[in-house]
């Protein structure tokens, strides 16, 4: 009997192995076929009554104001297009990529989805032929006339999927992002500090706060990634956009072992040693950190524009925003675009999908985003800027960075593994376990290993 069972198990195992490898080996073709089958079926199902088209879009707006905004836009789009049903599904950022991977490879993906920029999703998807090129729609809707070229470049890849930041457009972003200092107006006033306009003034302000026992910069880095924005923004004061473009887009054989990287790493260690960063920041989570700031636990918080809604709600008029001031040259500010909306190749309604994406970045969309204290991916008209408010500060900063072409990059886009390398190295750097040169060497090691796989 035992033999009998083991034979049976053996057969199942082999069958499973064969089945599995067969599936993965031929995933693109027969599954493409089954896609057509299912979509046709569902369409037949809906066309039986009136002519109905279903447009499905997936993104990371699974809660909060952004979910309300896109669903409001979807409802308005439905009204303008009788017979069209727009179905929204929001995921967490991590879930979206995993679910999209599974859905697209089993032919059940949405028509439109937010595609992670760079090598995490867009590059592999272009190479696998899973996205619809959007240049023709750019011509039709004129996106590149309204959106800054530097921002649109983040959604570009060459057709072979080999070069990032140039070539065909594969997606359009609805929102913008920029990193800067949120500051507590009351703490600034009580300590006689005004918003710094130069880098020296900034450090002087930190010294003043430190002397008076106020935490200069609130930070929580237990979740690993917040330091990317702190170091990145500081690094922006020591570099140029050209240098960063070359690194991120893998052009011009650049290396990370330069003063552009090492000097700000030294500066960051200096700030830690001088006590400019919150004590024990390494053991505090990101969400706890901004709440500590919101409760008056420090003078500034170096963080992203996506917190503005929450901070305005918690602090009212007491919070403002300013960008990292310039040193001897214009500072490049960490920032960019929200995840771009792209069209999945398996869609039956390409043109309609593009029209919907255009609606997501229309004037109406900008109006809704601003009403909800969110930063659109386009410059913002003066009529929306109110003095003395957080959003007013933020919109002015965003317009300034767009006009001066100083919107930089998230460094973790550099290679598929860079997030891991960068966060681990920054934690080591800030704990004094790694020196600035070793830090640059570690980044270069990751970068060189990735470039080697591309050749």
């Amino acid at each position: 009997m035992r033999r009998w069972v083991s034979v049976f198990l053996g057969i199942t195992l082999i069958a499973a192995l064969v089945g599995c490898s067969g599936q993965s080996g031929t995933s693109s073709q027969p599954q493409g076929g089954s896609t057509q089958g299912t979509t046709q079926q569902s369409e037949q199902g809906t066309t039986s009554g009136t002519e109905q088209i279903k447009l499905v879009f997936w993104d990371t707006n699974n809660s909060g104001v952004l979910k309300d905004v896109v669903e409001q836009l979807a409802a308005e789009f439905e009204q303008q297009h009788p017979g069209v049903k727009v179905e929204h599904r929001g995921w967490t950022t991590e879930e979206l990529q995993k679910s999209l991977q599974r859905a697209v490879s089993s032919g059940e993906g949405p028509d439109i989805a937010q595609i992670n920029n760079g090598e995490s999703s867009m590059g592999p998807m272009v190479r696998a032929g899973l996205l619809v090129p959007m240049d023709q729609y750019d011509e039709k809707y004129g996106w590149s006339k309204r959106i800054a070229a530097g921002l649109l470049a983040r959604n570009r890849y060459t057709d072979d999927g080999q070069t990032f930041g140039t070539g065909t457009l594969w997606g359009v972003s609805q929102t913008g992002e920029i990193i800067g200092f949120y500051y507590n107006r009351q703490i600034f006033a009580e300590n006689g500090v005004s918003v710094p306009t130069t880098f020296d003034e900034l450090e002087a302000a930190f010294e003043t706060f430190k002397q008076k026992g106020v935490t200069p910069i609130v930070l929580g880095n237990l979740d690993k990634w917040p330091a990317i924005h702190v170091y990145g923004d500081l690094q922006g004061a020591y570099t140029t956009l050209e240098y960063l473009d070359q690194l991120i887009y893998h052009q011009g054989n650049q290396t990370w072992e330069t003063d552009d990287i090492i000097v700000p790493a030294q500066k960051l260690q200096e700030w830690v040693q001088k006590g400019y960063l919150m004590e024990n920041f390494a053991g505090v989570g990101y969400d706890d950190a901004w709440k500590i700031f919101a409760n008056g636990g420090g003078a500034t918080l170096l963080a992203g524009s996506w917190l503005s809604g929450d901070l305005a709600k918690a602090m009212g008029e007491n919070v403002g925003f300013f960008l990292m001031p310039d040193r001897d040259r214009p500072t490049v500010h960490v920032g960019g675009v929200g995840l771009p909306y792209g069209i999945i190749k398996t869609t039956k309604h390409q043109d309609l999908a593009a029209e919907f994406i255009n609606f997501l970045v229309s004037d109406r969309a900008v109006e809704l985003l601003i009403a909800n204290e969110t930063l659109p991916g386009l410059p913002i008209g003066d009529e929306h800027i109110k003095e003395g408010t957080l959003s007013g500060d933020l919109y002015r900063a965003w317009n300034y960075a767009n006009q001066t072409n100083t919107v930089g990059h998230y460094m973790d886009w550099a290679t598929p593994t860079f997030y891991d390398t960068l966060t681990a190295s920054l934690q080591a750097l800030m704990a004094g376990e790694m020196d600035p040169e070793g830090f640059a060497r570690e980044l270069q090691r990751d970068y060189a290993a990735f470039l080697a796989t591309k050749q």
Binding site: T12, C20, Q101, P124, G283
Partner: protein, 314 residues
């Protein structure tokens, strides 16, 4: 086997119902022989679907290069070779081994002492103690992580507030390069001792009361009873607990992921977190699968060896 032979002897008898099948003896004996297997067939199908297929799928994936999007390409054993050459893999494996004392020895000791104290002293409210002491074990690992992240928060967490009462400035705990791994180890011990506690509690019940009485007549103290009666009486349970805890140490993930995500730096990166990072976050699906297979092999080897060394000889 015994059942089926009984059956066939019955059908060979004079009962009228069985007479029909007796006319085709070959078929009836095949059916009779198959019958017992049919009983576990449903379980086998479920087992195959949810165990064998995923395991085989993982092994299959470990043999390809795949970014999760395009078509996979066959890699042979390249992913395994890459793992053995990857210093981060060895570092992660080392962290797993460092966690073994925290996940195995500590919970075992805590569970043993608590079970002995509660059973031997026959305290009032045993039920209450059993329930509350078991509670950490039934909490999901992620929740345990969230709770401890909060308790250990250096700005407003309870642990550092208590330390501050004694004039001690608490460290960053989970963010400290030297303390992070011991800290997640201790959290793991806290989350795991409940299992040992309950197994030992059950085990003590089956130790004959006469042994305790005899020991007491011989003048043994409570500590003496513990060492000479309770501990030897729980040998079998200890082996079970040891192996189960060791497996937990090797596959440690949820508490770590919920507290440090493998940081600071890579101080708390273990094989399972490194695997998840590779397979899901940085699109190295094949490499992640290879790590999973290696982890499974190491786990099977270590737990088999432990059972061989300590298991009861028949």
């Amino acid at each position: 086997m015994r059942r089926s032979s009984q059956r066939s002897s019955k059908s060979g008898g004079a009962e009228p119902a069985a007479a029909g099948s007796a006319r085709i003896p070959g078929r009836s004996s095949v059916l009779a022989r198959l019958e017992p297997h049919l009983f576990y067939l449903p379980a086998l199908v479920i087992y195959a679907l949810f165990m064998v297929v995923p395991v085989a799928g993982t092994v299959g994936l470990s043999l390809v290069h795949w970014d999760g999007w395009g078509a996979p390409s066959f890699a042979g054993l390249a992913n395994y070779v890459a793992a053995f050459r990857d210093p981060l893999f060895w570092q992660a494996l080392w962290h797993n081994l460092v966690l073994i004392p925290y996940y195995v020895v500590l919970p075992l000791a805590i569970g043993l002492v608590l079970a002995a104290v509660i059973e031997q002293l026959k305290l009032r409210g045993t039920g209450f103690f059993r329930f509350t002491l078991f509670l950490p074990y039934i909490m999901p690992g992620v929740l345990v992580g969230v709770v401890w992240r909060w308790l250990l928060n250096p700005v407003f967490g309870l642990v550092n507030e208590v330390l501050a009462l004694f004039g001690v400035a608490g460290p960053a705990w989970l963010g400290d390069f030297k303390l992070a791994l011991p800290t997640v180890g201790l959290i793991g011990a806290w989350a795991g001792y409940g299992f040992c506690f309950v197994v030992f509690l059950a085990g003590i019940q089956k130790i004959p009361a006469e042994l305790y009485e005899a020991a007491r007549i011989d003048g043994a103290s409570a500590v003496g009873e513990f060492w000479h009666v309770t501990v030897p009486g729980l040998r079998g349970e200890m082996v079970v607990v040891l192996v189960a805890n060791m497996i937990n140490a090797l596959r440690a993930f949820d508490v770590i992921w919920a507290t440090t995500r493998g940081g600071p730096g890579r101080q708390t990166t273990v094989i399972a977190s490194y695997m998840v990072e590779n397979a899901f976050n940085i699109n190295r699906v094949g490499y992640g699968a290879a790590l999973a297979v290696i982890l499974a092999v190491v786990t099977i080897a270590l737990s088999t060896a432990t059972l061989r060394l300590l298991g009861e000889r028949k």
